[in-house]
Symmetry: C2
DNA sequence: TTCGCCCGTCGAAGCGCTTCGACGGGCGCG
DNA sequence: CGCGCCCGTCGAAGCGCTTCGACGGGCGAA
């Protein structure tokens, strides 16, 4: 193993100079820096991560706690994870993967052992998430993906799901639909009171009431059979239904199939709006008008906020809500006047 | 921060004794160990990961390189990742997430900086995977999930996909089917010559030839539209078709739909066998007879092998192939004699 | 011309842990 | 009864890096 003293000797400088040339924390003459860099390349020097962490009390590693509970759409979660890793690398950091299994203990462990410099936590509950007191107490900076009811003392990023719910309704209302329904995430997601799911419901309901629409809300398991049942129930209970908002990635296709089987064509008889990743919306049998879940932006945003906290650079807002963006596709049309 | 010297003082022993009590690398009297443990708990001591890594040249972190290329089924990949993390924790190790984006450089970086003790690499190509020479050259132990054509000097685990392909064919043959087809992964997976996809084809073809069946192989994009096209093509080219093997998680549902739309009922007119995770096979509209992709076993196996290499315990075989297990479900029946 | 200051560099002191050699005391064996 | 051995413990020396204080030399200002 080649170490910093080897580089120093080879370049004819002291180890501290090599360190400063690398970190830029003190001025180094252009010529010296060049010599040091050449030596580093020639010798293939790579600073030892552990030694660095010990001396600087910075590990350059971030922890990412990913949710793997029932009801979470895996590809969406994975999208966040990937964008977090990518963003972290841009800041010369690595990402440690924590699963839900360890729960709070895992967070505490990596924090207490100084394994990581900061935490990113996904899938936050709206109320009484047991991890939040811990995060507030820890002296390690952290960022949540998802916004709890009380974000005091925390830093959160997410799509503005409430506004997303409203936007879907507004769009349907603008197209003349008067009777609408929200088909949501699996029931367990609501039981856990997961923040994002709750907020969509709030937005949906608020906008529907504001516009004087007749509306209903239906959680739905992530299975084709459940989708079919919901579709049948909807037709029975709201025969005048012409607009649907879907917030459940897994059942978009089966749901559309079910409606068509029941004699409702999308969009001719039923306009459909979804909250889901763009790539999903585009590749469905009927491309769906949707509000994008911008995993890349959210993941990158979380990392950027975390780095800002780590560097003490500027102020970090408690909550950062990304504005929803609706893309019109083939699944929505103006209501046929009856 | 409470450190080992604090614990030592509190327990009335030397720091080295605390260390040995923790690691068990030297005998410590029952009574001393107890005192040390009490002090650790009372003070809430947590060893500093960086210091530990520096002194012991062991970081207790594993790197996991996950594939995110086109054609890889995300939930399956995620299943592996989760099982790797879980298994690693059982061995008191953590997992660093590496994405494909960094490619070989990422592997080299975490190895050279001693950030990790070992590497787990997913989605190996059958031929000329550029990472393999690197892995062979690195002095860090590594395990592949997936088996390349030439595994010399490597350690690999995977489902025996060749046998899985054969097993599916054997089952169909045993049920009397004489004309069969394999509907496989997206074309890009074959272009990359991904190991597991190739092997299924080999097994499928070999078994079909052995049994004297008429057979064909069809890569298929992971979209419903592509599934439909393949179904139509199949009926056109092999009108006598009664058995299908599907090795493409994403299109199972659309494929079944497509066949039914074309007048072929599963299993009445068409027996269908898949290679996919059990939970998927069970929750399909028609529960599908399948060979399980055992992500938990594979992930755990990879970690166990890696730990064995790390500890120098016993010999590690070059390739470990998990035998396929076929579960009979509703999608297969004996061929109606015509 | 001289003083003071700053730029660029060096040396040394750790960061918190592991590990190696050493050592004292108890016990079994001759 | 005494020698040697082993068990349990200690002290000290690093692991490879960062960082702090110090210092020399050059330059601008007085």
């Amino acid at each position: 193993m080649v170490k910093i003293t080897d580089v120093a000797r080879h370049a004819g400088v002291s180890p501290s100079t090599v360190s400063y040339a690398l970190s830029g924390k003190r001025p180094i003459s252009e010529e010296t820096r060049r010599r040091v860099e050449r030596s580093i390349n020639e010798l293939g020097y790579r600073p030892h991560a552990g030694a660095r962490a010990l001396a600087s009390s910075r590990s350059a590693v971030l922890a990412l706690a990913i949710p793997l509970r029932a009801g979470v759409h895996i590809p969406v979660a994975m999208g966040f994870a990937v964008s977090v890793v990518t963003a972290a690398r841009r800041h010369d950091h690595d990402v440690l993967l924590l699963t839900q299994e360890e729960g709070e203990d895992g967070l505490r462990r990596v924090a207490d052992t100084a394994l990581v410099d900061g935490l990113i936590v996904m899938d936050v509950q709206l109320h009484d998430d047991p991890r939040l007191p811990l995060l507030r107490a820890l002296d390690l900076p952290s960022v949540l993906i998802g916004v709890p009811a009380d974000p005091t003392g925390l830093t959160c990023v997410d799509l503005d799901f409430r506004a997303a719910g409203e936007l879907c309704v507004e769009r349907l209302a603008a197209l003349g639909h008067r009777v609408i329904a929200l088909i949501g995430s699996p029931p367990e997601v609501y039981v856990r009171r997961t923040a994002f799911a709750q907020r969509v419901v709030q937005g949906f309901t608020a906008a529907a009431d504001r516009r004087g629409l007749s509306s209903s809300v239906h959680p739905c398991e992530a299975t084709p059979a459940a989708a079919r049942l919901v579709a049948e129930q909807l037709l029975r209970e709201q025969p005048a239904l012409t607009g649907v908002v879907v917030h459940n990635e897994a059942i978009l296709t089966p749901l559309i199939d079910a409606f068509e089987d029941l004699g409702l064509r999308v969009p001719a008889d039923l306009s459909l709006t979804a909250i889901c990743p763009d790539d999903l919306a585009e590749t469905l049998p009927v491309p769906v008008t949707s509000v994008a879940v911008p995993s890349t932006e959210v993941g990158a945003g979380a990392v950027d906020l975390l780095m800002r906290k780590l560097n003490g650079t500027g102020h970090t807002p408690e909550t950062t809500l990304l504005p929803p963006r609706l893309t019109e596709r083939a699944s929505t049309v103006a209501r046929a006047t009856r």
